[in-house]
């Protein structure tokens, strides 16, 4: 099949927990996916015995998976009361984007200074896939958008920053599952990516970093507006 792996990236080595491994979707990945994809509600209780039954295993692997997710920050724990899904709400998203605005420009700067021709080719390939998609599938657009950034950040010029990006990335996936970017916003993303590639080729690190800063801030603002609008609609 035309697997989605046409833009699959590897998680930073060392952090073996975050990121989808090639084949064996282990238990914690499945549970994390359930959280990201929104199949589990915010603050929903994660009952070990239920999850064990559902996944056809005993309780022990589930418990370990939940602890791992706790360490990653996707699950909260209370002693003797078990785990709950950590909600991905407005504050959560706003905070993530604020961090992105701080981190991504620096990552971009490093990338521009150290990018190989293969890296740039890969960027253009992703960009091609986005244009090919031509706004047809909003979810795929989002996936490709994060893939674009991932290409820039995955070779860890700074391992911690790369790990941060991988966590950030999971949240972005969660957001894109819940909210569709408008056509206008998607057009802006496309345009800014194109600009970015040009700047990368020209070796303009500072300008590229600036652009990314505005790019991330713009996306963040847009997502938050979407979230606010939905909340207002729900309340009204």
């Amino acid at each position: 099949m035309a697997e989605t792996s046409d833009f699959k990236a590897e998680p930073p080595a060392g952090i073996d927990s975050i990121g989808a491994s090639s084949e064996g979707a282990s238990l914690y990945e499945l549970i994390r996916e359930d959280i990201i994809e929104g199949r589990l509600a915010a603050n929903e209780r994660l009952v070990v015995t239920d999850l064990a039954r559902r996944h056809g295993t005993s309780t022990n692997p589930v418990r370990e998976a939940l602890q791992l997710l706790r360490g990653e920050g996707f699950v909260t724990f209370v002693a003797n009361r078990g785990a709950r899904v950590r909600p991905i709400d407005q504050d959560f998203v706003r905070d993530i984007y604020e961090i992105g605005v701080l981190i991504e420009p620096a990552l971009t700067r490093w990338f521009v200074n150290m990018a190989t021709v293969e890296d740039i080719a890969e960027l253009e390939r992703i960009q091609g896939l986005i244009e090919e998609n031509n706004f047809a599938d909003t979810y795929r657009h989002s996936e490709l958008d994060t893939a674009f950034h991932t290409v820039m950040y995955q070779r860890h010029y700074n391992r911690h920053a790369a790990e941060l990006w991988w966590k950030h990335r999971e949240v972005l996936r969660a957001v894109s599952r819940r909210f569709n970017f408008t056509l206008a916003r998607r057009a802006a993303i496309l345009r800014e990516h194109r600009e970015l590639i040009a700047l990368v080729k020209a070796g303009e690190a500072d300008k590229a970093a600036d652009l990314i800063s505005r790019h991330v801030e713009g996306s963040g603002r847009h997502v938050l507006e979407q979230m606010r609008a939905r909340n207002a609609a729900r309340a009204g």
Copy 2:
């Protein structure tokens, strides 16, 4: 007793994993402490049965603790081969400080804009403790130094940033266990903290952020020099 809690801070709510809880040092905290304090060597194997015996429990709590530490990034895993201590080496430290330079100025800016009189009083209290210590105990000096920063960052104007700081903080503790800041450097820290308090009181957010930026960069450079020197000595 004169508990060390004269500058104890709370970990950001929500992230229930990182940070020392008041009393019950649970298993994962103990193991993490062993890593931070350097009682476990870099890349050392973490054998579940050994740890269980050593801590007088069965294997299950140990396994969960290791998964939690994996999620936090202090332990690496290989399937069917178990866990190892993630080394806190030069790269690790350099990367952490680079992130610090990106994050801490923003955190400082937020703090200056939102600090209460109690916050400032707390800062001055810590500063008083540092001056009282008067370079006598280098380890205590480091602890107080991070405590100073923690006061500024712990009230999570941005929860993810606060979590980042808490992780950052653990690494700093690890570093301070392995390397002593020179007298000159500690004097500089003291001076810069004093400057900072003045800027906070004056509400000079930008200048404070600038100062912190240089402050963190300076500490990072200093620590890395220490590490390099020791490595060179070891090699020579």
